[in-house]
Amino acid sequence: MITRRDRPGTFLLTLAVAIVLTLLYLPPVLDAFRPYWVALILIYWCLETQGMINLGKAFIIGLLLDLLGGSLLGLHALSLVILVYLVTRFRARLRFFPPWQQALSVFALLLNDRIILLWIISLRGDPLPSLGFWLPPIVGTLLWPWLFLMLDWVRASVRRRASS
């Protein structure tokens, strides 16, 4: 399906949108449901392109996210590096999973990420978060198929425009 190399511009655009969605103000009730947008975007680009996302880029994007979000410097860097590592490792398998199975593996990835975050929280000595802490992976999984289709569509239309 993908024959031509994708442009980094498309990736940067989707990343920018994901970062905006991460920081966008939501009423406190909805805030708990906010998925880990940047992770979802990175999983997509890891799966669909060969070698466009590497660990170094994931690290830098994570640092950027930490600086913007005011979290502990290196927190998101660690989480995204591990995520990208896992996706590139199992890329060949994940790519050919049927959609529901892929969504399940995305769930596993996001859940793993939350567990890492929980580990860091407990290392810092902060109190353990409430049950709402586990909502974002669920929301992310439910969003995944739609996000996948939408990103496919974005990429296809960018490529079409470039070739015409």
């Binding site: 660990l55 170094g56 979290s71 290196g74 927190l75 590096v81 591990i82 590139t88």
Partner: protein
């Protein structure tokens, strides 16, 4: 050896090299986190980068601002008039109570002059609005739209209409970040308004609760008591309301009771805040010659400097 890894890395693409790279980056991230947590080694770096991050915040805030303007324009004339008259009524009520406050203030000053000479000070306030950007939910920070350009300084106390919110932690040109009192690493010197008992209120990590772990067992504390700042620690001026006590846990065989309190300020949903400009170096207003209770009061009052991670 592994290369730095910022290149495309086609040469070292084997799984072993990849794992080594994962280790490298993971280690780097952990070192950074430790540096951020333990000392303030990375603060300078954060300040440098603020020039890059500031435009991003503006972009993110733009849709919210646009929405608000749109709603503002759609509000009907009548509802505005209604709101206007409501506000006028509220203002009148507040003016009434302020008049009494003025006389009380005067009386207070006279009494203080009689006792010691420590004087109550008048504070200047600076209005600021929260920047509508959601920071990391575990960071316990909010941003306001005033920065060093408006004379904001690190350490200034921040309150909203109902009570103390936190203190200014980083100042950039056009915005500054505020550490909320709900942060588990934040300690706020307080006293219980009814009895004058001094203690320290720590953040609990949840926006709806503060903890006071070091109240002596025999102390006179009741549910519903108002907790105000004590003015010790030289960071928060004294006498501002902080929280009301919601529960008191008198566990058996413990020297201290754990008191839980609900902050009065709208930590997670406020919109406007006031930054307090403290007048230069004076004795905090609340250093009243003390109640005897204070002897037993607090082992760790000294460490209650304000923040510190």
């Amino acid at each position: 050896m592994v290369t730095g890894g910022s290149g495309a890395g086609t040469k070292f693409f084997g799984p072993a090299a990849q794992t080594a790279r994962l280790m490298l980056y993971g280690l780097l991230a952990i070192v950074l986190m430790a540096m951020d947590q333990r000392g303030h080694y990375v603060d300078a770096f954060r300040n440098q980068v603020a020039y890059l991050t500031e435009p991003v915040y503006h972009v993110v805030e733009w849709p919210v601002r646009a929405m608000r303007n749109l709603f503002g324009q759609m509000q009907s004339h009548r509802s505005l008039r209604q709101e206007n008259s409501d506000l006028r009524e509220a203002l009148l009520g507040q003016k009434g109570s302020l008049q009494r406050l003025e006389t009380l203030n005067e009386e207070n000053r006279r009494l203080r002059a009689l006792i010691e000479g420590a004087q109550g000070q008048a504070f200047d306030y600076q209005f600021a609005e929260l920047v509508r950007v959601d920071l990391d939910p575990f960071s316990h920070k909010v941003m306001v739209d005033r920065g060093s350009g408006d004379g904001v300084e690190v350490g200034q106390a921040v309150i909203d209409g109902a009570g103390v919110m936190g203190q200014v932690e980083e100042v950039h040109l056009h915005f500054s970040t505020i550490r909320l009192i709900s942060d588990p690493n934040h300690a706020l010197p307080v006293q219980i308004n009814r009895t004058g008992l001094r203690t320290v209120a720590f953040g609990s990590g949840v926006t709806g609760a503060l903890l006071m772990p070091s109240v002596p067992r025999q102390a006179d504390v009741r549910e519903g008591d108002l907790v105000v700042t004590s003015g010790l620690g030289d960071r928060f001026p004294g006498g501002y309301p902080v929280a009301t006590i919601t529960s008191i846990n008198r566990g058996k065989g413990q020297t201290f009771v754990t008191v839980e309190a609900t902050p009065l300020a709208a930590l997670d949903r406020g919109r406007e805040v006031l930054l307090i400009n403290a007048p230069a170096k004076e004795v905090p207003a609340t250093q009243v010659p003390t109640v005897e209770k204070e002897e037993q009061a607090l082992p760790d009052e000294k460490e209650a400097g304000g923040d510190e991670t």
